[in-house]
Amino acid sequence: MENSKIRKREPLTDTQLLMTITIGIFITMYAVAMIALQGGFLHAQQIFDMLNDNAPLIIVSCALTIVMIGGGIDISVGAVTSLTVMACVLYLNNGGNILVSVLLAIGIGLAFGLVQGFLISYLEIQPFIVTLAGLFFARGMTTILSVNPQKAEHAAFNKLREVQFVIPWLGYTARNGNVVPARIELGVLVAILCVVLVFIMLRYMKLGRNFYALGGNQQSALMLGINVKRTRFMSYILSGLLSGISGYVFMLHTGAGNATNAAGMEMNAIASSIIGGTLLTGGVGNVIGTFFGTLTLTTIKKIVVSSGLNDPWWQSITTGGMLCFFIILQSVVLSRRAKKKSA
């Protein structure tokens, strides 16, 4: 009993280990980019731009992390984001109210979460199939609402869009001598708020821990007294809710609805979660890791562009390569761990 005080620190859990690796790799990668490519990477605005452009992706990545920790998958998030944008833009252009438009976004997200969650949890249909159907449905609905791109023409909303947080001392001096201050959009704040809230939910709320138990071993979770169906249901509801919020943030950033908005976003969100240390098999993952996963993913793309490989396919190829690298890294790290334990 004496030595309990001088006991060394507990080894990291799988979740913590994978998250640490991701953050380490992100910092290294960014540092290398700063040294080797210089240019934009030396300005703080580079990071802020990444955040400004990818706030919706960060939010849906949080959604995917929740669902994947619970052992599921949701590929409807991008399409729901797109549908939300289109619906809200049309609503605002028809003289809508801003507050109601926010509620509309949340409502659309929740509706998808509810229906998909019900089908998956209570009727026990494969999540991939259900959310694939959701994806097609939402994409179709977006096109029905408008085939043509719709620009938001709502005075109050466009004012809201222009809300930015300006940090002069983080700015830089452009070639013509003007000082350009650092700018952060409103959506980034929403995204960071989402990350923080999801983090708190996953770490300190019973619901969050139940997601881990569910993804770790469904049978055990049941025997431990967890309401497995309701827990799974909740994961899809949260995912839908976050997709709705992501749609609103998307609209704040682009100010227009378009049937091709957020195309392929679900795949980037899955990639972000995986790079951030979430296992597709469930039970392991962390939203802070996911946040850095998104940053890593976008940094890779920036690096590719800055290296002069401007063609879009280079981004896809490097993203694919990195994803592969991370998955292999994860499985190597975890299997080495398992070996060490059995030895």
Binding site: P11, M205, K206, L207, Y212, S220, I226, K341
Partner: protein
């Protein structure tokens, strides 16, 4: 009636389609006792336990906890009534911490206070002397410790009745001792423990009372100290003692004369070092050694189940190449895998489908076995091996462990192998079926089939094998036959040092 009666089950009846699992069984558990529930597979132990834990619902009878009549609807309900179960397979989540596993799913409110939880978990673990730390990820603990964490959870839930269902089957000796210490500790705290196991010595080591079931009927309740081990065995299997002892030393160990059927020189696989091995027609030999000594890996190499490294193999003197299980099967070799759940049965398929599986593979997909033929085969082997099943169309998963094993055995026998490898065919099955399988092995040998037999129980190997290959640390360290075939000699060879 009695003050210290904790749990009383009276006249419990339960039937499944075609099978009467329990016919009016009584069971009484007192405070602070360890009560062993014994019986062959299919005796009704699991059914009784499952009724008590709310997995099954009884057809008739009554259950009283501390004198009060209760009806148990679900495992959750059972836990709330103070009846907790720790299963053979760990039912905890490996990806979260020990503390979380102890408290998840049983707290009120929305928020979690990790500090408070971890403090409490460490207290309980310390109190029970369980070598785990609250913040540790459960998956990083050994299986034994995981099981103890499950017990700690049950204890903290104020359980009065603790059911331990085959808790020791995946533990080593040291871990078993730790578990027993914990059980005795709980007993002194007034918890009633129902202990289900196949290991007779363990029953005598730890239990106070024994209830024996056979074929869904109660045989009796005994004080452990008043029931000699032989008598317990005979009560469990309902056979005369003479038959048991006459099994003693098999006489037909005269296989020296037969021609060599299989011969390997320098055979190795990804899991073994090169080794030499041969077996004669009609011979029964065995690999022995401690768990992890390489005995299973060796037979897997013979069957081509692992990636083959090198070496030459001759069957009936002719060189052959065996790199995949199908090569081995085509050469008349059958292999009954160690882990029947993982490598053996296909639980969802029926008894019939499981039995014809290997034969169908041998025939190839273009020569299907007709339905009527398959049914005839299945019926024949259900009869020959005395497989207890409701019908040949029953899913194998619903059979008891021993009967599942017989189904796999039937599968290989149907291919009429010249050489059969049995890896732990008797593990986790009851004494009666064990004897049947041992007899079957000897009978097969008489018919000219060569058999390689692996078992953790040396006694069983001595009874069946005419030659033992002893392994230690993945190397063959000795070969025993004739007068050397005795327990002491085997132990000495396994342990090493001068013989």
């Amino acid at each position: 009636m009695q003050e210290n009666v904790l749990l009383q089950m009276r006249q419990i009846e339960k039937s499944f389609p075609g099978v009467r699992a329990l016919g009016g069984v009584d069971f009484t558990l007192r405070k602070g006792e360890i009560h062993a529930l014994m019986g062959e597979n299919g005796a009704g132990k699991s059914t009784l336990i499952k009724i008590l834990t709310g997995v099954y619902h009884m057809d008739s009878g009554e259950v009283r906890v501390e004198g009060e009549k209760v009806s148990i609807h679900s495992p959750q309900d059972a836990q709330n009534k103070g009846i907790s179960t720790v299963y053979q397979e760990i039912t905890l989540c490996p990806n979260i911490t020990v503390a979380e596993n102890m408290f998840i799913g049983r707290e009120k409110g929305i928020w979690i206070n990790h500090k408070e939880r971890e403090k409490r978990a460490d207290e309980i673990l310390g109190k029970l002397g369980i070598p785990a730390r609250a913040k540790q990820q459960l998956g990083s603990c050994s299986l034994a410790v995981q099981q103890m964490v499950a017990i700690a959870r049950a204890v903290d839930m104020q359980c009065k009745v603790l059911i331990l269902d085959e808790p020791t089957s995946s533990l080593d000796d040291k871990e078993v001792k730790m578990l027993f210490d914990l059980m005795r500790d709980l007993k002194s705290r007034g918890v009633g423990i129902i202990f289900v196991t196949h290991f007779l010595e363990q029953v005598y080591e730890v239990s106070d009372r024994i209830t024996v079931l056979r074929n869904g009927e109660l045989v009796g309740e005994y004080l452990t100290e008043e029931l000699p081990q032989v008598e317990l065995v005979s009560k469990m299997i309902g056979k005369e003692l003479e038959e048991l002892s006459s099994m003693g030393e098999g006489d037909d160990k005269n296989a020296e004369a037969g021609e060599i059927f299989y011969e390997a020189e320098g055979l190795s696989s990804s899991e073994t070092y090169p080794f030499n091995f041969n077996i004669r027609k009609g011979e029964v030999n065995g690999f022995t050694g401690l768990l992890g000594s390489g005995r299973s890996e060796s037979v897997r190499a013979i069957f081509g189940a692992d990636k083959v490294g090198g070496g030459s193999v001759k069957i009936k003197g002719k060189p052959v190449k065996i790199t995949k299980p199908i090569d081995a099967m085509k050469n008349g070799i059958g292999y009954l895998a160690e882990d029947r759940k993982r490598d053996g049965i296909i639980a969802e398929l029926s008894v019939r489908e499981n039995i014809i599986l290997a034969l169908q593979v041998m025939n190839g997909m273009f020569k299907p076995i007709s339905r009527s033929e398959a049914e005839a085969f299945a019926d024949e082997y259900i009869k020959v091996l005395n497989i207890k099943t409701a019908s040949r169309e029953t899913p194998v998963g619903s059979l008891s462990g021993g009967n599942q094993q017989k189904v796999i055995l039937a599968r290989w026998l149907l291919t009429h192998p010249d050489y059969l490898i049995l890896d732990e065919p008797t593990r986790g099955i009851d004494v009666g079926t064990k004897l049947e399988i041992q007899k079957l092995v000897l009978k097969l040998a008489e018919e000219g089939v060569s058999v390689t037999f692996i078992s953790s129980e040396v006694e069983e190997m001595l009874r069946t094998c005419s030659r033992l290959i002893v392994m230690r640390d993945k190397h063959i360290v000795g070969e025993l036959k004739g007068s050397d075939l005795n327990q002491t000699q085997v132990m000495k060879t396994i342990a090493g040092g001068e013989a």
